[in-house]
């Protein structure tokens, strides 16, 4: 039906349907549409944006505001191939710096988009165990990941006729609760007992499923460690329509567990999300997956189709009264969109800015409706909880941190990768699982860029939610990034500050300006005469950002820096 000025027929002469409600119902198509244009042309021109705006009834200024929010959407001409090369802390620690130098020597400076190919620096690409990584946007084809990456390989792919991904397989170290089951098809999944949990859940009352989750003591694995049962119950109690959102945006530097889970075992995630939908009475599920994960995206979308074909998604799942479907939404290069409310805005077609809470997602989340948001790893535990019962799950780990946890071990260790261990292990234990330090240990970043640097005795603190918090550190997303004594920590700490400055959405003053002031101060600190003054400034920034930023990004953007100062990695009098 005719909406704007184009493509009308005489049937549109005397009647038109439009208005706010219909425009609002299309707005969520904005980011997928921008993605389409980006991936076929390599950038979004003014003409393309106007056309999209008209078709979706979004104003061009708003659409532009959305497009310019994301690193993977370009609003200025770009070559058809652009390599986003990780220069973040994990890869830096593993020695990727020389690869970046090499690339600059051979391709010129980053961010020069005039030629036929170009490269740019990227925050962590979630391939940290590989030690170096590039994500290459390919207009008119499929985006590819190269990890580990050499300059040679990157250049080759930039010129290749048909670029192919080159990713070394994740070393499967263990056969554990969550890891080590590479399911190739739905039947394969079933042969491991897959879908049993879903079938069992469908025979239970939704409230009973929630009870098992509550009894399991499962706490969120996305970083905030919130008890899952409380959220499930809260959403379950609300009136519909309701949504389940699986947070697969995994952009916390040093984190790559969710990617591994999705690449290995997508069926289990689908099953778990469906169980969640049943338990809380949701109508629809969304999986929001970070834009730089083309491999996981392909695995998941193929799997969803297969599951739907088999009647385990869609109307009347497995012959029950329950209908539920899952849609995948792709992020576009914005760490902040992992924050749950920013994620809602992103799906809805708005700028990925967080919302002030309350109201909480359980009350007013996606499209203003009650929404259950869980991390990939959190959900992956659900099938076992349903099958074995919450109590069995709760018997693993400690009283307050039940079950097991995935740790993303990277940096200077002999066996970087994802490791699973019951809660209770210490940082040192985790490093030992990964074969020990490569060199002499200087410090470990625990919990990600939003976590803290630890050294010395702190390495023995059990990585449970309660012990970590008592020791002033956090388990976060399970990052254990190891730095040996060869690593110059000042640039590493600065890179973290740069990360937050780059990723701040800009909505609130403490974070928008605070992140840049922190970054600047750290640079001055390296050469400052009066270090005390800089340290006082950093401390002042720390307080205002923790106290008054809207969301976790700003609230946690100073934590790693402050911990680095506390344990003397930077800022000490020389």
């Amino acid at each position: 039906m005719f909406r704007g000025s184009r493509e009308r027929s005489s049937a549109d002469d005397h009647v038109a349907y439009g208005g706010l409600a219909s425009a609002e119902s299309r707005r969520n198509l904005l980011l997928p549409t921008l993605h389409e244009v980006q991936s076929s042309v390599g950038w979004v021109s003014h003409g393309a944006l106007n056309y999209i705006s008209e078709r979706l009834s979004v104003s061009p200024a708003e659409a532009y505001g959305v497009a310019t929010f994301y690193d993977l959407i370009a609003t200025e001409p770009r070559p058809e191939r652009v390599a986003h090369v990780c220069d973040d802390i994990g890869c830096l620690a593993a020695g990727a710096g020389s690869m970046l130098d090499d690339l600059r020597d051979r391709l010129g400076e980053p961010d020069e988009f005039g030629g036929s190919i170009a490269w740019t620096r990227s925050p962590c690409l979630g391939q940290c165990e590989k030690g170096s990584a590039a994500f290459i946007q390919v207009a008119g084809g499929d985006d590819v990941v190269v990890a580990p990456a050499t300059a040679e390989q990157v250049i080759e792919i930039l010129h290749a006729e048909k670029p192919q991904p080159s990713v070394s397989p994740s070393p499967i170290r263990q056969d554990t609760r969550l890891l080590g089951r590479t399911t190739l098809s739905l039947s394969h999944h079933e042969s491991h007992g897959g879908l049993e949990a879903l079938r069992k859940a469908l025979t239970m009352l939704p409230g009973d499923v929630v009870d098992e989750v509550t009894a399991s003591g499962l706490r969120g694995r996305g970083g905030a460690a919130f008890p899952a049962g409380i959220k499930w119950r809260a959403v379950g109690a609300e009136a519909g329509p309701k949504y389940v959102v699986c947070n697969a945006d995994e952009s916390e530097p040093g984190t790559f567990k969710d990617r591994v889970l999705m690449e290995e075992d997508p069926y289990r995630l689908i099953e778990a999300t469906t169980i969640a939908g049943y338990a809380v009475g949701a109508d629809k599920g969304y999986i929001y997956i970070r834009g730089e994960y083309p491999g996981a995206l392909r695995r998941l979308s193929d799997a969803i189709e297969e599951v739907r074909d088999r009647g385990y998604l869609g109307g009347n799942i497995a012959g029950s009264d329950f209908s539920f479907d899952i849609e995948i939404r792709r992020g576009a290069g914005a760490y902040i969109c992992g924050e749950e409310t920013a994620l809602f805005n992103s799906i809805e077609g708005f700028r990925g800015e967080p919302r002030q809470k309350p109201p909480f997602p359980t009350q007013a989340g996606l499209f203003g409706r009650p929404t259950l948001v869980n991390n990939v790893e959190s959900l992956m535990n659900i099938p076992a909880i349903v099958l074995e019962g919450g109590a069995a799950f709760a018997s693993i780990g400690t009283e307050e941190s039940t079950g097991s946890k995935l740790f993303c071990v990277s940096g200077n260790v002999l066996g970087p990768g994802v490791y699973e261990a019951p809660f209770g292990v210490s940082t040192r234990d985790v490093i030992d699982m990964a074969g020990g330090v490569d060199g002499d240990l200087q410090a470990v970043l625990v919990g990600g860029a939003a976590g803290s640097f630890v050294a010395g005795d702190q390495l023995d603190v059990p990585l449970t939610f309660e012990d970590a918090s008592a020791a002033g550190i956090s388990v976060g997303s399970g990052v254990v990034m190891v730095f040996n004594t060869e690593v110059d920590m000042a640039p590493i700490v600065s890179r973290i500050a740069t990360f937050f400055r780059h990723e701040s959405c800009g909505l609130c003053v403490p974070c928008r300006v605070g992140t840049v002031r922190q970054e600047e101060s750290l640079i001055r600190l390296r050469t400052a005469e009066d270090r005390d003054e800089e340290l006082a400034l950093l401390a002042d920034l720390d307080v205002v950002m923790r106290d008054s930023s809207i969301c976790g990004l700003g609230q946690l953007a100073t934590v790693a820096v402050q911990s680095a100062i506390t344990i003397g990695l930077i800022g000490a009098k020389s």
Binding site: G4, S5, R8, S10, D13, H14, V15, A16, Y17, G18, G19, L20, A21, S22
Partner: protein
């Protein structure tokens, strides 16, 4: 009659109503701040319909736009009424309690089937049906209109046809439900309130009513003719018959604002004596024997304006008028004094207080209260009265304090300027956001969005004519001919073109339009002219 005296609702009501029908109104451009209130309603979940030949900036906000052919409003309204009745959705309780003449009305609209309405208006029957059902079943509904309804030769009938719909559904006299005519010009409402109507004294008191007229005669110490006077259009007819030979024009520019301006100018030139009082030397003033330079009413004078929601508000003097200009009141006082009356010096508040003593609906509106309350909506009969948010609550009282409200029977007639082989295209006129009426007031600032004197049409229409955007075309009606460049616009269709009325100096659209006028309201047919368009 409803809707004639003033809008029945307040702007705030549209913010919480359930259904909005915007009929013949491009309020987004013509009444932007009213549209702010309307959009609050839309954002609060109200469903919206727009009935308009053009898919205007306003209509684009509507859930459904009914793109009627120009001049088919009554056919559509009658069909809506018939559908409401036949679907059993009429508010029978309200009809029985508060109205009269329903049975005749039901019988009268029976021939207006949805199919016939579709044929006349071009709007698919399904859309007309949906509007009928939504209007009838909405808890509250606001039916709004502007010049698209009233600038026709059958303006009053158009309005009456809409009022019938409110009577059929009970969408009047309640908070949130009402009839909302938005006044095209500033203080048109106030002019009516003050008796600037041929048959009314201030406060809408009938000039023919001896008792009411007597009250004024006593206060003024004069006799007042009991016969109604003339509308503007009647005045020009009287000039033609040589029955009217002198004219005192205050703040109007008929030489440019009347339809068929060629004839208007000729008649003005034929007058024995023409006095014009205006803040500009308008085209009309340039023809005058005497010109009184006036101060602007809104920034250089004291007084009141009445808005479309019947809100009387104070205007104040912020500037000293230039040169020898004086405010309208002072000029009238001096004029009266010069003619031998002893009116003394003008004082706006004194005049207002005299009005309050004569017009019961204004009685409670002292200047002090107007200031303190940010304006008061009439009627406000006494000094303790808060003013009236919505009119006609009496319709819902039991027993009814007045005669029930009558349904009226109005038949659709086609526009008086028919389309034929020589004049195959319908030209309609209207306003743009940045300009106002004949343009004299708004042309003083440099609007970055000024569209210029253009003729709007769809690309398909232009292609039919062999014209591209920017090409100058000649537009010819049965009365005259003008040239204008083509501008592409969405929201029109083949056979329908649009011109704005604001720049008569560059492009006098009124040389094309017709002075056929509505005998009841005195407004002319601006909206439906038959033209042919040729490339130059």
């Amino acid at each position: 009659m409803f809707g004639a005296g003033g809008g029945t609702s307040s702007y705030e009501e549209i913010e919480t109503t359930d259904l909005i029908i915007l009929w013949g109104s491009n309020a987004r451009s013509a009444h932007p701040i009213f549209f702010h209130h309307l959009l609050k309603g839309v954002r609060n979940g109200a469903k919206m319909y727009a009935v308009d030949p053009r898919r205007t900036e306003s209509a684009q906000w509507a859930d459904t736009w009914l793109g009627i052919d120009v001049g088919s409003d009554i056919a559509l309204a009658n069909a809506v009424a018939r559908e409401i009745i036949n679907a059993g959705l009429a508010n029978t309780e309200f009809i029985e309690h508060s109205t009269s003449g329903f049975d005749d009305f039901a019988e009268f609209v029976e021939p207006y089937t949805l199919e016939r309405a579709e044929e006349i208006s071009g709007v698919p029957a399904s859309a007309i049906r949906a509007l009928a059902h939504d209007y009838a079943t909405a808890e509250t509904a606001q039916l709004c209109w502007t010049l698209g309804i009233t600038e026709h030769h059958n303006a009053t009938d158009n309005v009456v046809a809409l009022i019938n719909l409110a009577l059929l559904t009970g969408h009047v006299g309640r908070y949130g439900s009402g009839l909302v005519p938005i006044r095209g010009q500033n203080n048109v409402q106030g002019g009516g309130d003050m008796g600037a109507l041929p048959n009314k004294l201030p406060g809408f008191q009938n000039v023919a009513d001896d008792e009411l007229r007597g009250k004024f005669e006593k206060a003024y110490g004069m006799t007042i003719p009991s016969e109604p006077g003339w509308h503007v259009t009647q005045m020009f007819d009287a000039m033609e018959r040589a029955e009217l030979s002198a004219m005192y024009v205050i703040g109007e520019n008929p030489a440019q604002s009347e339809a068929d301006s060629g004839r208007t100018i000729e008649l003005l030139e034929g007058l024995d004596h023409l006095v014009v009082q205006d803040i500009f030397l308008t085209k009309t003033a340039a023809m005058a024997d005497v010109v009184f330079p006036a101060a602007s009413g809104w920034a250089e004078s004291e007084g009141t304006f009445t808005s479309s929601e019947r809100r009387v508000q104070r205007v104040r003097r912020a500037l000293d008028p230039p040169g020898s200009a004086k405010d309208d009141l002072a000029i009238l006082f001096e004029f009266a004094n010069a003619m031998g009356h002893e009116w003394g010096t003008a004082d706006a508040e004194d005049v207002w207080d005299e009005l309050r003593s004569l017009s019961p609906m204004h009685a409670g509106m002292s200047y002090e209260r107007l200031e303190a309350m940010g304006g008061i909506q009439w009627p406000c009969p006494d000094i303790g009265h808060p003013g009236t948010k919505f009119l006609h609550a009496w319709l819902w009282e039991d027993p009814m304090p007045r005669e029930p409200a009558p349904f009226s029977l109005v038949e659709w007639v086609p526009p008086v300027d028919p389309l034929d082989e020589d004049y195959p295209i319908r030209l309609t006129t209207g306003r743009r956001l940045d300009a106002y009426n004949t343009g004299v007031q708004s042309s003083g600032y440099r609007s970055p969005i000024y569209a210029g004197a253009v003729i709007d049409m769809t690309p398909e229409q232009a292609a039919d004519l062999g014209a591209s955007e920017g090409d100058v075309v000649r537009i010819t009606s049965r009365r005259g001919s003008v040239e204008a460049p083509v501008r592409f616009t969405n929201g029109l269709r083949r056979g329908l073109v649009f011109m704005a009325i604001h720049s008569p100096d560059d492009l006098d659209v009124n040389t094309l339009t017709l002075d056929a006028w509505d005998p009841k309201s005195g407004t002319a047919e601006f909206k439906a002219t038959a033209v042919r368009i040729e490339t130059t």
